[in-house]
Structure formats: structure tokens, C-alpha cells
Subunit: 600 residues, 2 copies
């Protein structure tokens, strides 16, 4: 029976063959008809030179009308055995366009494409120097003008930014800027990373002592140089700091530490940025053609403006400046906020025998770290996944293959299971007065992260302290007024306080554009992050992709890069390829750029 | 037809089943009869707690009589499809002993074992903390006595060697010491590496400017953290230096740089070494239970004693101290020696427009780097090998599976091909007067390396300069006398000289034991390296393994570690497991330790 059945692979290849035939016809837009009526095509810079999800046949048809004759997508092949489950065929795909070599993923349902992902992997003519294509290192033969590797590197370090201008400047040398710079290095795009701290990794080192990554190691690899097999599941902050420092050196990045960007403006005439930086106290003006803000997806700290703040006689700071719990033994500490940082800081203060109160203003999504690992991430990012043949690249592409519109449908049932599995845990938290949620639609952690980048805590222990009352909780209130040695809550309670920590989150990344470039440019590009889901803190209209992230913005030659380690790793590829294409003078017409609806 | 045939895998498994049955019988030594009469069993510390090749049934029988009842080798399984070629079945094998889990390799011919390799991979009860077994990093939950990763690391760095003694001290922090220390770290064996240079990697950085590894990258990986895919084929010395520096940090080694070992003695009463070191100018006495000399396989530089040396008015130094060619533009340079360093130094001097003469005292084996890569190493260590499914571990085990006695038989035909392929190249060298050889028996590079660690050059360009006369050559002569501004050769020629470089090789590693411990101990352990092949510079009697390397020596608790990057990587595993077993009090009776025949 099996022999007569058309295999999943054959069905996927047949679909691709029809697809290719139509794409090559006089009317390539008709290829939209091979999708379900409500099907999706998510494109990462292969068809659109944009990061864009086309939703429905109409949108796909429009995109193809505008792009297919130029991009000429071809050679669509199933690249490994396709699988079928619940009537959906999953297939990995390779293809190419006039510009590039791509990988993709197809979900086929009843003979039509439900979802198609297309991603650029390599620009034709500009392969990375890896594997078979790696440099030789030693130039064999003898030459009287030979320069050693070290001399060449030292020359570049001396010249770049002074006698020779970089093509690209990245502001911010955390994991985002570093991952992108590594990709650009491999693509021969001269780049300088500007970082305020004295050493790469300091943005991690300088945070509170007990901080560890909340995402597991399989999720956190940087490009090119994965963490070794003995790396701990949740890497401690100083260990990550050391890794980043090592990484910048091994990847030979032009990493300007102890350097602050004071101003940047785009010179429309010369099509250059004029970027003023102060490097080790000396003013240097850089003139790159592209400017990337990689200043942290979270942007500038939100410090609330509360009456009486200026009268407070204790210590008060934003969570991003919190030094850890050591100095506060026996002190009365008030933490405003109830998300990740608030929980971590409360737990560390408690561990140092402080008296800790958390002020929860609105509900929080909590998920136990072990549950997150086992029930949510496990299939893609875990030791078991690797043992089963999953790779980091495939996991990233799988994650990317689900259009944001339908991603909640994938997550809601998972988080229902989570709620049941950990019902006792959630019950105890509620009993302690903690306000819980699973997102506006029950879709849990990732959707909250993608929509608003806040509103959750991955529990690594603090929740039990909240449930037990070891961390005191005031929920459903805010701080009304700050007094010299106390805070007055909106319900009238007065809490004595030696320390106030504002774990109140961050503004949009375009706040950095305002600070470094101008308010005008910040408003021109508008809010970063969020996708217009019309849920809390992510106002509509629907855009279907993260606003302004890793793709062209309304300001020519200005880019935003950021996110967690997974995103920094994965999306740095597409941003790097966009920059490389521009450097090489490849035509990059951007399809379907969104207009701006929100200023911040 | 195929279906009726017993597959190679089945034949290998049948042999293993018989083998296991006999090993479990009252007379396990009878298992020797399952080998060819002249068959080989090479054991890396599983049966013998030694590195030892048993040659012939008699030797195998003796070994089994002495060891099998204690080690109880069992559970022999073919671990992947076996292959058959030219009547020889090749099979990968897993097994275990009372102490350990092992991997092996079997060559079966006419139903009998031709060669068997057994290697220890993991001590039972002491798995490395990797993959599924890795540390969690963050301790979930809350605890008032929690120490961060950084605090724990800092405590260890402060205590070890002062208030707490390491179990092991490694003298020498080049690639050998570093690779071993990384293994010991992963096995929880407290270790300090003592290194004279200011930074890890300086032993590479301080060498002549143009130096690159002569072995390709696939051969050179360190344990745990392979070089990334874009690393150049032949890594430049400073890049390797940076990698080693990064590696010591990322692997969290207790690496004492700027530290010199001034003396060491074994205290028989306390079974401890007393190791005096000067660390950053301060004297510290370490008391480890094990001492490893990893001071470079090459030992102490051989500087010849030539009449008139003291009268020379120019500059003279051993090749290990040569600073590179820059300072010698237009100078008359005489290089004594014709091996790797001599060629590299001559080429770099020529590139700096010096007048260069090479003095070749005896014949040299030359192989072009590309030929070495394509015709010799390619099957195991190349990008193609990786694309074909080869891994570093499997390549190392494959290399280890060939007993030294028959290794020349594998290599002689390869080097015959090499001689034919590059006949024109060799012809031109001969015509220029260069004395060539392929080893005493035509077995080429690796056998020369293993027998004597010298006598060859992997050509990356200098040979063409010799053939062209750009590097002048005097061959078949030595230096008779050194004059204030010249050298007089043994044929009476006088060569003007501003610089003399003694590229005259190194002594045996036990020279370091003499210098650090005592002449008495150096003589007690005897010569290191070489296998007793009775060829040039490797006097008999035959031992069949490298003398004193990575295995117990005649001096209790003294070990030698070294070799190229491949050997440092691979054999550090077996040395680390031997040390770990001793630390854990596991019984480690050493079978078949060789007696000492040569003092140096």
C-alpha cells in the first residue's frame, strides 16, 4: 500500500514544481493560487528585500506582481524527506533568486500551501569564506612584500575609522552588535562597533550578581562559534561576559570599547552618516554609509516620574543600574514592578537578608523555567532535540516559519497544558495575591515578548518566595508619593523604604535614535518592536512583523538590531545580507514597507 | 546473492561474540587465538593502564593472563556498519571494562583479528559534565548562602596552590599543557598549569613573524572547543596564540602565567611532589600528587658547541629564539640546519632581502604542503573528509588503530606515489644539490616524526627558493670553525656571516626532568619519544610505542605530555583518565612497563 501512495516528499516536490512553473510563466502572480485562500508567505529578504509576511492570496499576488519578474525565483527543491502529521506536510526547501541562494520551509494542506517561509542564506558571488571556501592562512610561496596576519590585522585596526572609513557603524556592543559585526566581518563589510563599556561583555558583568540567562544554552548560541558541550544550561552573567569578550577577539571585530556616540546625522548629499564618537576621551568622526542601532531591544530605561522622588533620602535607581543585593542586608527595599528583573532583584535582596516588598501594578505572566524548557522549548532547543537531529539553524528556521498572525494558535494549547501541569504552583501564587495572566489571549510567554517585550517572569525560584510571603507583595497598586524614608501606595498604605528599585522597563528603541540622531528622525521611523496585535502595549494596526527590526526603516541607511540571543543570532544574518548587498551595489528594491503609526 | 552473504557487520559481531565468550571463560587468555598469529592489540589504558601494543598471539596471551580477570572486558558491540575492502573488514566497536567505557576498532582478515585497538573513553561513575550531563549554571530556587559562578571561580583561583593544593601540576602551558588541563578540569581534577610566558599563547607569538601551522586546521582542533568553520587552513602563529589565550579563560583553567618552575622533587614519604615556582616574582611551593612535564615534545634546544663561537662578532642564536627576518635586511645570514625551522627562517630572511645560506649537514625529507594535504592527510583530516562524515574523534581513533610496527607498510606506498607525483619538484631540488630522503625505509613524514621528531620540512614555499638558488645551499658539510665575521665549513669554504642561526633541533624531553628535578630522575625515566625502530636517531630495542609519552614512567607520579596539536588533543584524554583514576583511588595496575635503554 505504501508503495502506491505518493509520499509527503513527492507531494511537496510536485507543489514546488507547479509553483516554479507558474513563477516562470508570463503571469507569475498566479502562483498565489497555489496557496490556501488565507495562506501565508513569510519572506526574509529574498523576494521583498524586506522582512514581510504576505497574508492571503491577494497579498501574495500583489507581492509577486511587484517582485517576481525581477527576482526570478527558481530551482525549488525539497531538501530532505518531508513529513506529514495531522494532514499537514512539512517540507524543507532550497531555492534561488537572481540575487541569492535561499532556504525555505513549506506547510502543505490539502494540496495548497498553508505557509511558506523564504530566507536568504547567501548572496550569489559573495559566499562567506567558510569550510571549503575558507582562507588558506599561510600564503604558500615566498614574497618580499608579504604581510603577516598580525600585521594586516594591526593595519586595519589603525586605519579603520581614521584614514579609511568603515562601511557600517554599529552603536552598541552587546550580543546584538557583536553577532551582527561577526556576520559583517565574514562578509567583508568593514565595520566598527561602538561600545560605551571598557570591555566587551561588561553590559552583562555590570548587572546584579545572581543574574543568569533565563533562556537555555541551546537557544543562546552566537553565529559561527557555538558554546561547547559542557557550557551550563543557564549561563551566569560573568561567564557570558567573558564569552562575548573572547568572541570579539577571536572573530577579529573592530570593537571600539570605552567609546561613546555623542551625535549622528545623515548627510543626504553625500549619502553618509556623520557619527561623532569619543574614544578613550578623544573625539573621532566616523563617516559610514550605514548606521545600525544595536543599543538593546529594550531601549532607554523607563524611570517613572513620581511626586516626592527628589525628597527620598535612601537609594533609588532603575533596575538596569541595580548593583545586586549585597549592600542592602537588613534594609527595607521596595521594588516597583513584577516582571523578570523585579523578581530577580527581589530574590537576590532576600538572599542577602533584606526586607523586600514587590509592588505589582498589573498582572504578570509567570512560567516555571523547567516547564518552559520541557513543554515549550524542548522540541527545538534542548539536548534531546540535538540528540534527535535538530540543529540550531533548523530550530531557528522552524521558529521563523510560523507567521505571527497564527503563532498564537500554536501557543495557546501549549500554555493551556502549562496552566494545568503547574496548577498547584499558580494556585499558591494567586493565593498570595499575585495577579497572573497568560497574555491577553492565553498565548503565553513568546507572544508577550514579541508583542511588548515585557510582562513576564521565567521563574527560577523567586515565585516560591512570593508565594511563601518571604518576598512581601502589594498588588494592584502603584506608588502614589515618595517620602524621605517611605513610599505611599495608591491604596494609602505607607511602606518604610531604604531602597527603591524601579523595575519599570524600557522605552522603544527609537528613543536611542532621538537621543543620538534627532527627535525628528526618531519620529520619522517611529516605534520599534511589537507587531500591531492590538493587545496590551502593542497597539494596532496589524503589521505582522516586528516594527523596524532588522529591515529598512523610513530613515534611509538607518537600521535597528536587537533582541535576545536567539534573535541576535538569527536575524543578524538577514540584516548583514541587506547591508552587504548595498555595499556591493546590488539593486535592493524594498517591497511593502510599512508606514509609521506610533511615535514611540 | 547479497542476502545470503554474511555482512561485514555480522562477521565482525560474530568475532566479537566469540571474543567475549572466551574472555569470560575460565581461560580468557585463549582469546589470543582469535587473532592472527602475528596480530596486534593496541591498548590505550583499558586493559593495561598503559599505552601498549601487544604484538602476536604470545604477547596478547600474556597480557590477557595478567589483566583479563581483573578488567573483565565485556559487552563488545559493533557500533556502526562495518566495511570490507581487499579482504579486510573494518569495524568500530564499543565495549566496557570493570573500570571504564571504551571505544575500539577491529580489522578482521580471514576470520581472525589482524589489529584491535581498545581505548578508554570514560571512567565508570565519573562521566564528564557535558551534553545531557552538563551543569545547570543557575541554581533554581533561593538560598541565603548562594555563591555566584564568579565568586566560586574567584575563590578557587585564590585558594588553589595556597590554602588548598592541586592534585596535579602541569609544567608548561603550550597547547599540550592547555589541552590536558582542559580535560582535567572537565574531570574535576584540581590542576595548576605553570607557564613562564606572560600570557597563554606567547610561546607561539614570540616566534618568527611568518610562522604558520604546517598542519591543516582539521588536524589541529583542541578538545571541547573546535575551531570555527572560517578558521584558515594554516593558522598564523598569533591567531593560534590568541585562541590559546581565549581557550584557557573560557575553559576556566588555573593557568599561572609569568611563573617559572625552579625545582621539583618527589617526597617518597608523603607521596607528594614539592614543586618550587616563582609566580610574578613571588616564591610559591606547590605540593601536588602528580607532576606532568608538558614543556614541548622537543625538549631543550640543542645548541652545538663549535670552536670559535665565543669569538663571533655578529648575532647568533638557536632557531627557537630567532626573532624573524626584519632586522637582517642586506645582512649575510648562515643557517645551520635544513629542517622545518631552517627552511621557514631562510625564507623569511630572503623575504627581508637578506643574503641567506643554508648549511645542510644530512639529508632531509621534503613534502609539499598541498601534496601532504591531498595525498596523505586528506582521507582523515580535510574539509572533504568532514563532508563525507568523518569526525575529528574518528580520524584520531583511525590513526591510532594502526600499530606502529606496521604503520610503515601503510605509508610506504603513499610516499612512493608522492615521489612520482612531485618528481619534477624533487628533481629540481636534487639538481640544486639538496640531499633528499623519504626516511630510512621510504615511509615518509609521519614515521620520521614519530621515530625522531625531526628530519623533515613541509614545503610551503622555501624549497622553490632553494631550487632556484635564491636561498644558497651548502650541503653535505657542517661548520668547522666560527670566526669573528665568518664561518669555516668542513670542506674548507669560508662564508662571511653577520648572523648565524642554529636550527639544530632539540634534545629529549627528559632534559627538562634533569633541569627541573634531577639528573638522577632524568636517567631513571630515560629518553622520551621514538619507539625503538632502529632507524636514524631512533635506536632499538623495539618498544612499539612512544617512549614515556602519556603513560606511566619509571618515576612514580611523573608524566610526559606533548606532541603536535593532534597528539595533544587525542592523548590528553588517556593521560587525563589515568590521572583521574589515581585521584579517585581506582586500582590502576600497570601492565608491561618498558625498561629504560637510553638516557637521552
Amino acid at each position: 500500500m505504501t508503495e502506491n501512495k505518493v509520499t509527503a516528499t513527492q507531494q511537496a516536490q510536485q507543489w514546488l514544481d507547479s509553483f516554479e512553473e507558474t513563477l516562470n510563466s508570463d503571469n507569475p502572480a498566479q502562483a498565489a493560487d497555489l496557496f490556501e485562500d488565507g495562506g501565508f508567505w513569510r519572506d526574509l529578504v529574498t523576494m521583498t528585500w524586506n522582512i514581510k509576511t504576505m497574508e492571503g492570496r491577494g497579498a501574495i499576488r500583489d507581492m509577486l506582481s511587484a517582485t517576481a519578474k525581477r527576482t526570478h525565483p527558481a530551482n525549488w527543491q525539497v531538501s530532505e524527506e518531508a513529513t506529514e502529521q495531522d494532514g499537514v506536510i512539512d517540507a524543507w526547501v532550497t531555492f534561488e533568486t537572481v540575487d541569492a541562494i535561499g532556504k525555505g520551509h513549506l506547510r502543505l494542506r490539502n494540496g495548497h500551501a498553508w505557509t511558506l517561509l523564504t530566507t536568504m542564506q547567501e548572496l550569489k558571488g559573495f559566499p562567506e569564506k567558510r569550510k571549503f571556501n575558507r582562507a588558506k592562512g599561510a600564503e604558500h610561496g615566498a614574497s618580499k612584500s608579504r604581510k603577516s596576519w598580525l600585521e594586516t590585522l594591526q593595519d586595519e585596526q589603525q586605519e579603520l575609522g581614521y584614514s579609511r572609513q568603515p562601511y557600517c557603524v554599529i552603536i552598541g556592543g552587546g550580543q546584538g552588535g557583536i553577532a551582527l559585526a561577526a556576520r559583517l566581518k565574514q562578509l567583508d563589510v568593514p565595520t566598527i562597533v561602538v561600545e560605551r563599556s571598557a570591555k566587551a561583555g561588561d553590559s552583562w558583568r555590570n548587572r546584579y550578581k545572581s543574574l543568569c540567562l533565563h533562556d537555555p544554552i541551546w537557544y543562546d548560541h552566537l553565529p559561527y562559534l557555538p558554546f561547547p558541550d559542557h557550557w551550563p544550561v543557564f549561563a551566569p552573567k560573568d561567564k557570558i561576559g567573558d564569552w562575548l569578550e573572547m568572541y570579539t577577539k577571536i572573530m577579529e571585530l573592530n570593537y571600539w570599547s570605552s567609546t561613546e556616540c555623542t551625535a549622528a546625522r545623515y548627510d543626504e548629499a553625500s549619502k553618509e552618516w556623520v557619527v561623532d564618537v569619543v574614544r578613550d576621551g578623544e573625539k573621532v568622526t566616523l563617516r559610514p554609509q550605514q548606521l545600525v542601532l544595536a543599543t538593546g531591544m529594550s531601549g532607554i530605561p523607563n524611570v517613572p516620574d513620581i511626586p516626592g522622588m527628589d525628597t527620598f533620602e535612601g537609594e533609588q535607581h532603575h533596575s538596569s543600574r541595580h548593583p545586586g543585593g549585597e549592600a542592602f542586608k537588613g534594609k527595607k527595599c521596595v521594588i516597583l514592578g513584577a516582571n523578570n528583573s523585579a523578581h530577580d532583584i527581589c530574590a537576590a535582596l532576600w538572599e542577602n537578608s533584606a526586607d523586600v516588598t514587590m509592588i505589582q501594578r498589573s498582572s504578570t505572566h509567570i512560567i516555571k523555567s523547567d516547564t518552559l524548557m520541557d513543554d515549550v522549548l524542548g522540541g527545538l532547543y534542548s539536548e534531546q532535540a540535538i540528540a534527535d537531529g535538530m540543529t540550531t539553524e533548523k530550530a531557528d528556521l522552524t521558529f521563523a516559519s510560523v507567521p505571527f498572525r497564527i503563532m498564537p494558535d500554536f501557543h495557546i494549547p501549549v500554555y493551556k497544558q502549562v496552566a494545568e501541569k503547574d496548577a498547584d504552583f499558580y494556585g499558591r501564587l494567586k493565593k498570595a495575591g499575585f495577579m497572573l495572566d497568560f497574555g491577553d489571549d492565553g498565548s503565553g510567554l513568546f507572544m508577550k515578548y514579541l508583542r511588548r517585550g515585557s510582562g513576564y517572569y521565567i521563574d527560577v525560584g523567586a515565585s516560591e518566595l512570593v508565594a511563601d510571603g518571604e518576598i512581601k507583595l502589594k498588588s494592584g497598586v502603584g506608588i502614589e508619593h515618595i517620602n524621605p524614608r517611605s513610599v505611599t501606595l495608591t491604596d494609602g498604605t505607607e511602606l518604610p523604604a531604604d531602597l527603591i528599585v524601579y523595575a519599570t522597563g524600557y522605552g522603544s528603541m527609537n528613543g536611542w535614535a532621538a537621543r543620538i540622531i534627532s527627535e525628528e528622525v526618531a519620529d520619522k521611523v517611529g516605534k520599534c518592536w511589537g507587531m500591531g496585535s492590538d493587545t496590551t502595549k502593542d497597539p494596532g494596526p496589524w503589521e505582522g512583523e516586528l516594527r523596524n527590526m532588522w529591515k529598512p526603516t523610513q530613515q534611509e541607511a538607518l537600521w535597528f538590531h536587537g533582541g535576545n540571543l536567539h534573535q541576535s543570532r538569527h536575524y543578524s544574518l538577514y540584516l548583514a545580507l541587506q547591508l552587504k548587498a548595498r555595499k556591493e551595489g546590488i539593486d535592493t528594491p524594498v517591497y511593502g514597507q510599512e508606514s509609521v503609526h506610533h511615535l514611540s
